[in-house]
C-alpha cells in the first residue's frame, strides 16, 4: 500500500508558476496599452475592450494549462527507502488519511 505523491502530474512547479504569472501580466498589460492607443486613435472604446479581451484569451491559452515550460524545475524528492523484510515493530496503520492543508 504505497501512498501516491500529492498531485505530481498536472501542476506547475513554483518557478513555473512565477513564470506563468509574469507571462500573463505582461500580455494583459501590453494588450491594454495597444488597445488604449488604438481606441483613442479611431475614437471607439469598443475596440479597446476587444483588444484587451483578445489579450485575455491568449493569456488563458498560454498560462492556464500546465505546459512543459512551467514544469522545468520540479521538486526534488527523497530517494526511495529499500524494502524492509523484518517484521514491523508496530501494528500497520489502520487508516491512512490524506488531508491537504493550505
Amino acid at each position: 500500500h504505497t501512498l501516491l505523491p500529492p498531485q505530481t502530474t498536472v501542476f506547475q512547479d513554483y518557478k513555473g508558476q512565477k513564470l506563468a504569472e509574469q507571462i500573463f501580466q505582461g500580455i494583459i498589460l501590453i494588450s491594454a496599452a495597444i488597445g488604449f492607443v488604438y481606441g483613442l486613435i479611431i475614437e471607439q472604446f469598443g475596440w479597446t475592450v476587444y483588444i484587451v479581451l483578445a489579450g485575455f484569451a491568449v493569456s488563458c491559452v498560454l498560462t492556464l494549462p500546465p505546459w512543459p515550460m512551467f514544469r522545468r524545475n520540479p521538486l526534488s524528492w527523497q530517494p526511495a527507502l529499500p524494502e524492509s523484510t523484518a517484521e514491523p515493530s508496530q501494528k500497520p496503520q489502520e487508516s491512512t488519511k490524506k488531508k491537504k492543508h493550505k
Binding site: G39, F45, L64
Partner: protein, 260 residues
Amino acid sequence: MLDYTPMLLHLDCDSFKTVFWPKTLQIRFILKGLNRKYVFIPGNFTFPVCANATSAAGLGTSLSFELVSVWYLRNPNMNTVLSRANSLFAFSLSVMAALTFGCFITTAFKDRRVPVDIHVSKVMLKNVDDFTGPRERSDLGFITFDLSADILPIKPIFDWNVKQLFLYLSAEYATKSNSLNQVVLWDKIVLRGENTKLNLRDMKSKYFFFDDGNGLRANKNITLTLSWNVVPNAGILPLVAGSGHVSIPFPETYETTKSY
C-alpha cells in the same frame, strides 16, 4: 510532575514508505500510544516523551506506538488551474477598470459646445382647459420651428467616450406670477453612428407648452434654447447649452378654436 526525557527516534516506516516525502513537506503523525500529535520532518527527530509510572517505555528501550494517521501538509503556494484562472481574470478586470478611467480622463475637460441655429416659423396661442393645474384655464402655446446644427465640427463630438446624445429644446421666459419658467418642448436622442448633421424643418413641439397661469399672452420675450446631454461610456454626463438661441414674442390675442 512529568519527566520529559528527550529521545532520538528513528521512525521505522515499514508500513508506510517515505518514497514520496519531499524535502519541503512535513508529515504529521498521531502516536496513539502516547496520545499526542507530532510533526516530523525527514531526518532524525527528537521529541519530548512523557514517561510516567504506567508507561512501559523508558530511556533506552524501543518505544511502541501505533501510526494512526498521516497528513501531508501541502505547500500553501501550490496553485491550481482555477486559482491561476482566478488571478488572471481579476488582473484583467483591474486593467480594464484602469483603461476605462483613462478613457474618461482623456475627454473629461473637453469643450462640447456647438453653434446651433434655431428659427421659429409660426407661433400660436390658445387658452384652454387645464386639468393638471390649480386653475381652470391656462395658456397653451404652439410653436413650429426649424433647427439646424452641424454637430460634427473639426473636433468630433462623437469621440470614444460618447455613447449617444440627448438633445432638447427648452423655452425660458418670465411672467408676472413666476420669475423664471422653463418648459421642454421637444427632445431627440442621437445615437452613435447616426447622421450628425441636424437639419430639421418645420418641427412641431413634442410636448405641450402649458403655462402655469395665463402669462404667455403678450409675453414679449420667450427664449428658445437647444441644450444637450452627452451620454458617455465612462464618467459624468456633461450638460451643454447650445450656443444658439432665439427670442420670440407671443401674440397678444388668443386663437379661437376652429371647429370642423
